[in-house]
């Protein structure tokens, strides 16, 4: 059976927990209709971020939206946050049910 799916883009951001509120405000302002935030741990060029306490905590934010919007969000992140914050962000093509939600 073929599911009635449509293509969308998922933007994933892994970054410092301290900027969560600022980031979510930006996403909202740039028109993202929803997001999912989860706590995250890991290691990268900025060392181990093991979430043992506030300063070393990471979050992962996921946003599903049309490709153009994901591009715009990513451009904004690059301009505003990449220089000074521990952040990686990437896009993935995905298929969704209920496309009107995204």
């Amino acid at each position: 059976m073929n599911l009635p799916t449509e293509k969308r883009t998922m933007l994933t951001i892994v970054t410092e927990a301290v900027i969560e509120q600022a980031l979510l405000r930006d996403l909202d302002r740039l028109g993202a209709r929803g997001h999912t935030v989860s706590d995250a741990r890991g290691r990268g060029s900025r060392g181990v971020r093991d979430a043992a306490w506030d300063e070393a905590a990471n979050i992962r934010i996921e946003v599903i939206c049309p490709r153009e919007q994901a591009d715009a969000l990513l451009r904004h992140l690059q301009a505003r946050y990449y220089d000074n914050y521990a952040m990686i962000a990437f896009l993935a093509e995905i298929e969704v049910l209920r496309p009107e939600k995204f």
């Binding site: 410092e16 301290v18 979430a51 043992a52 306490w53 506030d54 000074n84 914050y85």
Partner: protein, 315 residues
Amino acid sequence: MPAIDPVILFFLFGLAAGLARSELKLPGSLYDSLTVFLLLAIGLKGGQGLAMQPLLPLLPQIGAVILLGAAQTLIAFAILRHAGRFARADAAATAAHYGSVSVATFAVGIAWLGARAIEVEPQMAILLAIMEVPAILVGIVLARGVSRETDWRSLGHEAFLGKGVTLLIGGMAIGWIAGPEGLAPIKAMFFDLFKGVLALFLLEMGLIVSRQIGELKRCGAFLIAFGLGMPLLSALLGLGTGILLGFSVGGLTLLATLAASASYIAVPAAMRLAVPEANPAISLAASLGVTFPFNILIGLPLYHWLAIQFAGAIV
């Protein structure tokens, strides 16, 4: 009186376990819960003391500690910028840490004085909450200037309604409204368990501090010297302020400890948002890796001794 307080031994245990790369790890949510407990307990204790005295005489004291916090930030900035040749943003962010206060250090101070049955003015909890804030604002202005781009609304929100200030003020309000009799039913939880919770909290602090040691090696001798010298200078400023305000020996010791302490919760978060180009590793290595252990191991007894000398010199 034991030679060394058991809560300090918990800290040293955490530090040793961390340095030995033990698997020991407390869950992050426990650390958060312990912080909430300590802040509320300190607030409640201060609040119930305030219920028994008029509030108006506190205004000049509040004004004095705001000036104290701002002055410490400016002095630390000048030292870091000129003697340490720090970049403007790094100097401003680190200075803000030293102008602000550490609740953990304050809690150890309360426990230390309590163990020796030394009386402390109840308003110290208010002064603790007040002193968190001015350094943040001064630090941002030092880094940025007063520029239009600064989002003062969200920074004000961060500075005045952060976890620390909110819990302290909330605890104080509850303690003030309920008074000592009203608090009697929850006394066992918040006052009697205080030292046990502090011990557990300091175990985690030891682990956190042990992670700063590597960073400290990278930062070099100047930062270590600053981390030891700045609290001494600040403690003297705090003692001077306390003398002007007519504090008791206990109050003098605690105000000196407050002044000497460097923030590692409220200020790092605010600076990360407001001055993102500052390297947070530098200020945390100094405030956590050097100043916090120095204050609780050596500083406290020293500030108490100085407080006795200062108070004795006036009488």
